[in-house]
């Protein structure tokens, strides 16, 4: 059982969610998750329990109103959640509220005391730390009357909180706008409300997630993309992918993988049907095309389909103000979800560092207003002088949400590449420095680079911890490349 630490957070383990919620759901409290049909409510409720078991061995109770436990066991096995096995191991219990209710006539007044008692019973049986209730509507749709809904929801939330568990209750939302929940009272009973949306946006269906309120706790506002590619190691290093709307600064010397990372960033967006815009000030169109083709990224067809727009310009052809106006115009015309500027360093040639900083501030305001996830690249001056970040990089870094540093370092007589996520604003991320290999398939992020220091500062050196006789090389999980 959890304590009832009011201010604590329970890391849900749901990819990307914990960053938005700045740590997770309020521990020991109830969170209402509402959304229209198909917005992913049930999935959220299931993942909340499954991740608890997989990550932290925290047992859970699933209260199901709509589908039977049998259907659910079958469906989730296909998602890779072995619910049946977890039930045998005493980590998962169902409260089956799916049947035996609809047929009975109602004569006189009643309440949901038995349901609350059953939930409490199941929670004690498995020593639950998490409970999901999916969804209340099946019960409540039959019984109009805001007062009853409000009263019973308060009773169930009270039972959940008395049990010391962190819980998620899902509820149906009639549409994408207007009232948060069907009865318009649910959100007043529960301290924490999350809205899932499934909307058509520029002819693409997108799922978003928004934390409407989280009482007594900070959280990120606005809608966030709900789907993140779990196979991407960089996403994992950043704690589950970039936030939608995030501004990412990618710093590294030439050849360290900046362009490839930005191409991958575009390719991932295009794969998800997102509109992308790229401004490159370093290379001409032919070079960009050749680069991307070399990594198996087909930009031509993406451009033909209209999803992608690439603008190649030499910095010197216009003033910085004109460049900004062109970028703004392109954003307004193309309405991208992702933007790449490659590189800021090229623009630095034509203006003072201070003017470039002003440019980044203005650009930041512009992309945030449009909700564009933006990747900016920046190169230090020389290949083997990684300490020399651009003069403005420090200040720009403070304007961005995430700073990713690519570096060369020397190990065992070889030049290797390393990647580190320096800062992701207000969220957890992998603090490790990881090795990067680049081959014909693109970029691979490998395990942490162990036993070294000074990669990011530019003076790589091995660390031998006092008392450890092993040289670092023997424990380093270097892949072949």
């Amino acid at each position: 059982m959890n304590g009832s630490d009011m201010t604590g957070r329970l890391v849900t383990g749901i990819s990307g969610f914990d960053q938005i919620a700045l740590g997770g759901l309020p521990s020991g409290r109830t969170t209402l998750v509402t959304g229209s049909t198909g917005s992913g409510k049930t999935l959220f409720a299931v993942e909340f329990l499954a991740r608890g078991i997989l990550r932290a061995g925290e047992p859970g109770v699933f209260v199901t109103f709509e589908e039977t436990p049998d259907d659910l066991r079958r469906n989730w096995a296909s998602l890779g959640f072995p619910v049946r096995q977890w039930e045998r191991e005493g980590k998962w219990a169902f409260v089956d509220a799916s049947a035996g209710f609809q047929e009975a006539p109602v004569i006189g007044s009643y309440d949901f005391g038995a349901l609350a008692a059953r939930i409490g019973h199941a929670a004690r049986q498995v020593s639950a730390a998490r409970i999901s209730v999916d969804s209340l509507d099946a019960v409540f749709t039959r019984f109009a009357g805001a007062a009853l809904v409000r009263h019973e929801l308060a009773r169930i939330a009270g039972t959940l909180e008395d049990a010391g568990v962190t819980s998620v209750i899902t509820a149906e939302r009639a549409g994408e706008d207007g009232r948060i929940s069907r009865y318009g009272v649910e959100e007043f009973v529960v301290d924490n409300v999350v809205v899932l949306r499934n909307v058509l946006d520029h002819e693409r269906r997108r799922r978003t997630i928004e934390i409407v309120k989280m009482r007594g706790a900070p959280h990120r506002t606005g809608q966030w993309l709900f789907t993140i590619d779990p196979r991407d190691e960089l996403d994992r290093m950043c704690g589950g992918g970039f936030f939608k709307d995030a501004i990412i600064l990618l710093v590294g010397p030439s050849g360290a993988g900046k362009t490839l990372t930005s191409l991958k960033f575009l390719a991932a967006g295009l794969r998800g049907g997102e509109r992308c815009l790229a401004f490159t000030f370093d290379e001409n169109r032919e070079q960009v095309r050749r680069n991307s083709a070399g990594w198996g990224i087909d930009l031509d067809s993406a451009e033909e389909s209209g999803l992608l727009r690439i603008v190649c310009e030499y910095p010197e052809v216009a003033s910085l103000e004109d460049h900004f106006i062109r970028i703004r115009r392109a954003i307004e015309e193309h309405q991208p979800g992702r933007l790449v500027i490659d590189t800021l360093s090229a623009l630095e040639r034509i203006v003072s560092p201070r003017a470039l900083l002003d440019f980044v501030i203005a650009l930041g305001a512009l992309v945030r207003q449009h909700g564009i996830t933006t990747l900016l690249t920046s190169a230090p001056a020389g290949r083997f002088t990684p300490q020399l970040t651009p003069s403005i990089a420090g200040e720009i870094a403070s304007l961005t949400d995430v700073t990713i540093t690519l570096r060369y370092f020397e190990q065992h007589g070889e030049i290797r590449r390393a990647i580190a996520v320096m800062q992701t604003r207000g969220s957890a991320h992998d603090p490790g420095i990881r090795q990067v290999t680049i081959d014909g398939d693109g970029m691979h992020i490998a395990g942490p680079v162990p036993g070294t220091a000074g990669i990011i500062s530019g003076a790589a050196a091995f660390l031998t911890l006092p008392g450890t006789a092993d040289p670092p090389a023997s424990e380093s999980p270097q892949p072949g490349g």
Binding site: V95, D96, A97, A99, G100, F101, E103, A104, P105, V106, I107, G108, S109, Y110, D111, F112, G113, A114, L115, A116, A117, R118, G120, H121, A122, V139
Partner: protein, 101 residues
């Protein structure tokens, strides 16, 4: 003579719980004098029994015998409708038999 067996699920000794039991006993005493049994189960004390029967709302009365089982939710404040819904003998069914919406 058919034997009637009812199980009444309540949660706690609330006014509603007591009303349901009183209504059910009054109904059975008038319609089934001496030929019924009634168990009262407090789900707060025996949640496992509520789980077995998938009880959500309380009060709920389940007619276990004679078969088929019947269920009625609520404190049974309307005796006529309750008697009809539980299939009790002795009185004509209420004029309007259709269930509510």
């Amino acid at each position: 003579m058919t034997a009637y067996f009812f199980r009444l699920y309540v949660t706690g000794q609330t006014e509603r719980s007591l009303a349901a039991e009183a209504n059910l006993r009054a109904l059975c005493d008038s319609r089934l004098p001496g030929s019924y049994e009634l168990d009262v189960i407090d789900t707060a004390e025996q949640p496992g029994l509520a789980e077995e029967q998938r009880i959500l709302a309380t009060p709920t009365v389940v007619r276990l015998a004679p078969l088929p089982q019947r269920r009625v939710i609520g404190d049974l404040s309307d005796h006529h409708r309750a008697a009809w819904a539980l299939g009790l003998p002795g009185q004509p069914a209420p004029a309007r038999q259709g269930d509510e919406e």
